[in-house]
């Protein structure tokens, strides 16, 4: 039971890292929607996008697939259809 609790805490922490990175990426994305020729924003976006791919790989290795429909590899056990779902964390 304690192990399950620790796992949840670790998952929430890793998610938090991803959420922080995604906040920057989303902000840059919306900014570039109205400023499509800002090269500095573009460089920052593409660089962070690369960082994100690494972080997603790390998250998925520990906690299972983050995406459906083939964007993530599935696995047994702890595959896509296994919880906890986002509203249960």
């Amino acid at each position: 039971m304690l192990m399950k609790h620790d796992r949840r805490v670790a998952q929430a922490e890793c998610l938090r890292e991803l959420q922080e990175l995604d906040f920057v990426l989303l902000e840059l994305n919306l900014y570039m929607d109205t400023h499509p020729y800002d090269k500095q924003a573009l460089e920052q976006f593409n660089c962070l996008s690369k960082t994100r791919r690494k972080l997603v790989r790390r998250y998925e290795k520990c906690f299972g697939p983050l995406y459906n429909f083939g964007l993530s590899k599935n696995r047994i056990p702890d595959g896509w259809s296994k919880g906890p779902w986002p509203w249960e964390i």
């Binding site: 959420q19 995604d22 919306l30 900014y31 929607d33 109205t34 983050l66 779902w85 986002p86 509203w87």
Partner: protein, 189 residues
């Protein structure tokens, strides 16, 4: 095409079971200025808007779906341990009679969501001004909800959502300026 990401946009924690707060939060789920209305409004308007703003409407509309999921998570967590008696005392008796603890797209007063809350005029300026107004109304709603809530964990998430409304409003205002500039360059339109 949309892909589901198995995570929330921002963490949602609640300090304790509080069905009364959930009843009010439903305003941002199925209310006139709520997240469902926002997502459906932008994702429907985008098809016929000028190329320069199609991306913005697509991206903000998609982000609204993530906000909808955050509100759903708040309501779920605030009500999951409540007894039918507690729900009744919180004013959710009519909701419980019809939906048990399932979520439903209605506002804080129980009025079901309707497409008449949103518009698509085919006129870019008319549509974008509606979008700016929608963001400001949603921001105000988040403020009233924060004013009523005494849950510090919940307020953290509500403040995040309030700030997103500000950012969206600013981006839509920029979109209006971009379109005005384009119109100024044309000989006729």
């Amino acid at each position: 095409m949309w892909i589901y990401e198995k995570k929330l946009q921002y963490p949602v924690r609640v300090s304790q079971c509080n069905p009364r707060l959930a009843k009010y939060l439903i305003e941002q789920y199925g209310g006139a200025d709520g997240e469902l209305a926002a997502a459906l409004r932008y994702l429907n308007q985008r098809y016929t808007l000028p190329d320069k703003v199609k991306g913005l409407l697509t991206d903000i509309g998609t982000e609204e779906l993530a906000h909808l999921e955050m509100i759903a998570t708040m309501v779920y967590k605030l009500t999951k341990d409540a007894t039918p008696q507690q729900l009744e005392e919180a004013g959710l008796g009519a909701h419980y009679a019809n939906h048990d603890k399932a979520l439903f797209y209605h506002n804080a007063a129980g009025v079901p969501w309707t497409a008449t809350y949103i518009q698509a005029k085919g006129d870019p300026i008319a549509d974008l001004y509606e979008d700016i107004a929608a963001e400001e109304k949603a921001r105000a709603t988040y403020q009233w909800l924060i004013d009523m809530s005494d849950d510090p964990d919940l307020n953290d998430s509500l403040k995040f959502l309030r700030e997103r409304e500000v950012v969206h409003s600013q981006r839509f205002r920029e979109a209006v300026e971009i379109l005005k500039d384009c119109q100024g360059k044309k000989k006729y339109f």
